[in-house]
């Protein structure tokens, strides 16, 4: 299953490291990533592939929620299709 992770928050050292750490622990592969700083805000988008046999969507969501709280960030994970259907004819 492919999903998009969006991370938005005040920029600080180690955000990408922390997020990719959580993904590694849950065997989630990062297929694409883009990151920028917009008005002091760290904004990162990741396209990931979840191996559903190893990791449940909910499990990953919970792990990212915990990290979001710990680092005071907004982290969303959504299945990729939602963006495809809304923006492609």
């Amino acid at each position: 299953m492919k999903a998009i992770i969006t991370v938005i928050g005040k920029d600080k050292v180690g955000i990408m490291h922390a997020v990719s750490g959580v993904l590694k622990d849950l065997s989630v592969n990062i297929e694409d990533v883009t990151q920028t700083i917009m008005q002091e805000y760290f904004t990162m988008l990741m396209l990931v592939r979840i191996d559903e046999e190893k990791t449940g969507f909910r499990q990953l969501q919970d792990a990212l929620d915990d990290l979001a709280k710990e680092m005071n960030l907004s982290i969303r994970i959504q299945k990729e299709e939602i963006f495809d259907v809304m923006h492609k004819i």
Binding site: R58, F83, H87, I89
Partner: protein, 451 residues
């Protein structure tokens, strides 16, 4: 990543512009539950609803979570209960309680379908049903009711229209301790649609299958934001942007609806794209009209702006999905829309202007508080006017007015939550009773003879 911009746009819609799936409504046929023994039949109704819908709420929440779009309401619509053929208030109340209890048991906030279709004529059983509606609305909390009084094909059942005023007044009286809230759960329709997922008027039409999932998508905030910053754009340029926005919203709704129906093993019915305001800030249809250039909703030009909005929404929706149905357009419920409330308080939005706007919106006179002493015949006459707009123009119209017990024009009533608050609006004080007393049937219009 090429979809970078699209992702951020979607997230902005979700976080800042209140894009959501307004409702996932499960339609359930009760045809095989009915029989001569109404106690047994009402138990069968309870069992059928609770067994069909037991996973509805959890499944909808799971899907919403995975795609990051909130499904705000989970609801149920059932076969119009008047098909049960009961003959006394006591018997009808068995069904009302069964539905109300079933909704609570599966965790659904509203169940619709305490309804009757009497657009051509009324059976004796249906007459007793109409008498039972006020008691059902007073006794239950999660149950909604509707009656279809006319259609373009059949004309208007003027006898039944005459019964609506007294019925609504009685409901207002029975729920007087709660600002006559019972009336907010009742809709008088013309050209009612069988697959509308939005409450209070949802029911599972007799032409439908066993069980179906219908989805209602909204998003006035998204349309408003899209139009902001279009200063100086022409009307057709605005229409184009509304269309494109409606397309995106519809696509999101279709994805979610199909996923929910697949997981529940239930066919996907229709997607209703209706811009439906809520009392939340920025979730307003009236505000769209203001962004288009009107000082307030209700000013001259409001009908034109609303017509363009409704039409563009439909066009975008049709392009996005082959399953667009229901009412699809824009709702204008006064008490549920912050800017509409403001316009009514300023005296800009009047009852008569609202009636004109209903000829181009997706439904009708919705959530309008009127003085508690409005004569029953006047209420029936409002319904007759609205039904005529629907029947002649081949569109669905509805009336949901609340004659708030003990209140006068200018007072303010607050129902709280989703239903919001509203100023009590002035109504025309001249008498309509001799006209309403005539009864009979208003014949179908000439364009009904298409065959």
């Amino acid at each position: 990543m090429t979809i970078y911009k699209d992702v951020l746009e979607t997230i902005h819609m979700l976080e800042k512009e209140n894009l959501d799936i307004r409702t996932t409504t499960m339609g359930i046929s009760l045809m095989d539950c009915f029989g001569r023994d109404h106690r047994a039949a009402s138990r069968a109704v309870y069992d059928r609803v609770t067994s069909c819908a037991r996973h509805l709420v959890k499944t909808a929440d799971d899907v919403g979570d995975e795609y990051g779009i909130r499904i705000v309401n989970k609801r149920i619509s059932v076969t119009p209960i008047a098909f049960a053929g009961a003959s006394s208030t006591e018997e009808w109340l068995l069904y009302a309680r069964a539905l109300d209890d079933a909704a609570k048991a599966v965790g659904v906030d509203i169940i619709g379908g305490f309804s009757a279709l009497v657009h051509k004529g009324c059976t004796r059983s249906e007459e007793s049903f109409i008498e039972a509606v006020p008691y059902a609305l007073a006794e239950t909390t999660n149950l909604c009711s509707s009656i279809n009084l006319g259609s373009t094909k059949a004309g208007i059942n003027f006898d039944a229209v005459g019964k609506m005023g007294p019925m609504i007044r009685k409901t207002a009286w029975l729920t007087r301790d709660n600002n006559s809230f019972g009336c907010a759960k009742f809709v008088a329709f013309a050209n009612a649609v069988e697959d509308n997922p939005f409450m209070a008027g949802a029911f599972h039409g007799p032409g439908e299958g066993d069980v179906v999932i219908n989805v209602g998508v909204s998003g006035p905030g998204v349309v408003k934001t899209a139009l902001e910053g279009m200063e100086g754009a022409t009307a057709d340029e605005m229409a184009e942007v509304i269309k494109q926005t409606a397309f995106k919203i519809t696509r999101a709704g279709q994805l979610i609806g199909r996923e929910v129906s697949q997981r529940l093993g239930v066919p996907f019915g229709i997607l209703d794209l209706s811009l439906a305001p809520t009392p939340a800030l920025g979730d307003s249809v009236a505000e769209i009209l203001e962004v288009m250039g009107l000082e307030r909703c209700g000013a001259h030009g409001s009908t034109a702006a609303l017509a363009m909005l409704t039409d563009a929404v439909k066009k975008g929706g049709i392009m996005a999905s082959g399953n667009v149905g229901g009412l699809s357009g824009a709702f204008i419920p006064v008490s549920e829309d912050q800017r509409m409330i403001a316009a009514a308080e300023d005296g800009c939005l009047t009852f008569d202007k609202l009636e004109a706007m209903t000829s181009v919106c997706s439904v009708g006179l919705d959530m309008i508080a009127i003085p508690g002493d409005t004569p029953a015949e006047t209420i029936s006459a409002m319904i007759a006017d609205e039904a005529s707009i629907g029947v002649i123009n081949n569109k669905t119209t509805a009336v949901r007015v609340i004659p708030v017990y003990g209140m006068k024009a200018g007072d303010k009533v607050d129902w709280g939550g989703l239903f919001g608050s509203a100023p009590v609006m002035e109504v025309n004080g001249f008498d309509s009773s001799r006209f309403i007393a005539r009864g009979g049937r208003i014949p179908a219009p000439v364009h009904s003879f298409k065959n």
